[in-house]
């Protein structure tokens, strides 16, 4: 479903950082992949390259056979099929919760008002905040906002969902409610790529865990392999630091 081939990316400002060095990864439909690694390891950059929010210097990303990084590709059509959830939610503050979820359905999918509303209400009950439909984003808690953001992405009926540290900006007591929604999605067979520091989530839900460091994939494997006896010293060190 997703095929990443020899992806490289270098940031030059403020100084040279090789964010991705010859990264290759392939993800099957229905697979849940959790990407972990220390900060600056390139995991967010990898995720953002998947829907061309970041352009790579070389390499290819194929989603359902479409070359995402090819300038001739209609990127808007690709992005409509790839949902993304951000660390800082990025809800539209000038629109009510319901309108946040219907906007792209109406504008991009060209759905009728009724259809978009119906979809939005269904998704809001799915993420458990139907009663907040008429509220503005800044009237919601962080956890609620992130759940709205997930509903907004799901409203497009994406084939893949990308999560970029979805719980990192949340207060600890709100992390659970967001992870719960993500677990439900995973159980329903959604293809997911999650960059996260939630090891419990990785262990419980991931089909595969990818450990990145210094812009490269160090090790990849099942959660059992990963958390029980990883191959690489670097992985062991990271896990010992993060799990204490």
């Amino acid at each position: 479903m997703i095929d990443v081939r020899n992806l490289s990316k270098t940031f030059w400002l403020p100084q040279r950082v090789d964010a991705l060095e010859d990264v290759s990864l392939s993800i099957a439909a229905g697979e849940v992949v959790v990407v972990i690694g220390p900060s600056g390891s390139g995991k967010s950059t990898l995720l953002r390259c998947l829907n061309r929010l970041e352009t790579a210097d070389s390499g290819h990303v194929f989603i359902d056979g479409v070359d995402v990084l090819d300038p001739k590709t209609n990127i808007n059509r690709v992005r409509a099929e790839v949902g993304m959830v951000f660390q800082s939610f990025n809800l539209f503050p000038h629109k009510k919760v319901l309108d946040n979820i219907t906007l792209a359905q109406r504008v991009v999918r060209r759905r009728s008002r009724e259809e978009a509303l119906q979809k939005a209400e269904y998704l809001l009950s799915k993420v458990g905040i139907r009663e907040k439909a008429g509220a503005y984003p800044d009237q919601l808690s962080g956890g609620q906002q992130q759940r709205v953001a997930i509903a907004r992405a799901l409203a497009m009926d994406p084939k893949v969902m990308l999560f970029d540290e979805p719980t990192s900006a949340l207060d600890p007591e709100m992390i659970g409610e967001v992870l719960e929604v993500m677990k439900t999605l995973a159980r329903e067979g959604m293809t997911m790529v999650c960059v996260t520091h939630e090891m419990g989530f990785a262990r419980e839900v991931a089909d595969r865990v990818v450990f990145m460091d210094g812009g490269a994939i160090v090790e990849t494997g099942t959660p059992e392999h990963f958390f029980v006896n990883p191959d690489h010293e670097r992985t062991k060190l990271f896990l010992s630091q993060i799990l204490k």
Binding site: L53, R79, N90, F92, A104, V108
Partner: protein, 335 residues
Amino acid sequence: MRPLSSPPILKRPRSYYIGAAAFLAILFGLVAALYVATMQVDYVWRWNRIPQYFVYKHKIELRAEADGEVETVDARGDRHLITLKGDEGPQIIETPAEGVRVSPGDSVYAGDILAVEEHWKPGLLMQGLWLTIKVSIIATLFGVVIGLFAGIARVSKNPAARWSALTYVELIRGSPLLVQIFIWYFVLGTLFNSILAKNGLDQIPPLWYGVAAMATFAGAYVAEIVRAGIQSIHRGQNEAARSLGMSYPQAMIHVILPQAIRRILPPLAGEFISLIKDSSLLGIIAIRELTKATREIVTVSLQAFEMWFICALLYLILTFSLSMCVKYLERRIVV
């Protein structure tokens, strides 16, 4: 604990009252100094002559066209119809009841006053004020449209759009408005009007060159305000919109601009307040706005002192009421 039902009465320190008194003293002192100075040059203040420049009674005298006799004076509602049997045929005059100066049977000579009609008319100052308001509003509307497009072009990735907008903004902001008005009127105006005349078309009056100069001038400043507004919206907003599959224009229209406009409004209003004041320059291309009207009245009446104070006061009223409106808007929007 002390109950908090009523706020504590704050006693202001003595220095506050001394300061307030000093302020009043300075204000009074300046006015007194001005008055004394005008006494030295024997200036006679005639404020009573000012109102006629706001509104005045316009008198129309209706006269007999030829010798003859008044036949009838008929009441038609609050108007009267005077029928004159003249030597050169009948003459019928319609006039308000209170203006009739003749009665049936009177004989009149050619040129005699039959009736006087009086109308209230706006004076030169009112006409000038109205023109200032009109020019400001039209220039503001065009300025916003120009500025919005130029501002969006300023943040565009396309070099043609970005550099054009940048050149426009730098050219306009780098030269005096007075010079731009001259260019619009004497250079572009001459070109346009000559070409129009060659093709047998009507000339464009100076007013529109003035409006064009003001609108392009304001547009450049509005463009910078719009650019700043767009760039102040967090990058994540654009990323979220684009990640949902929206195109750049769709993200602009539905996500970025609605948020930017709320932030733009206060500085935009400041720009329009200066536009009102800058319109005073239009007098130099024969547009009789408030300043030009004042200058004409001064030339005729020689009451320079009163007139220029009145002129400044009228601008103050315009700008102050606009800034009050904006304060109200700000309070409603920025919550």
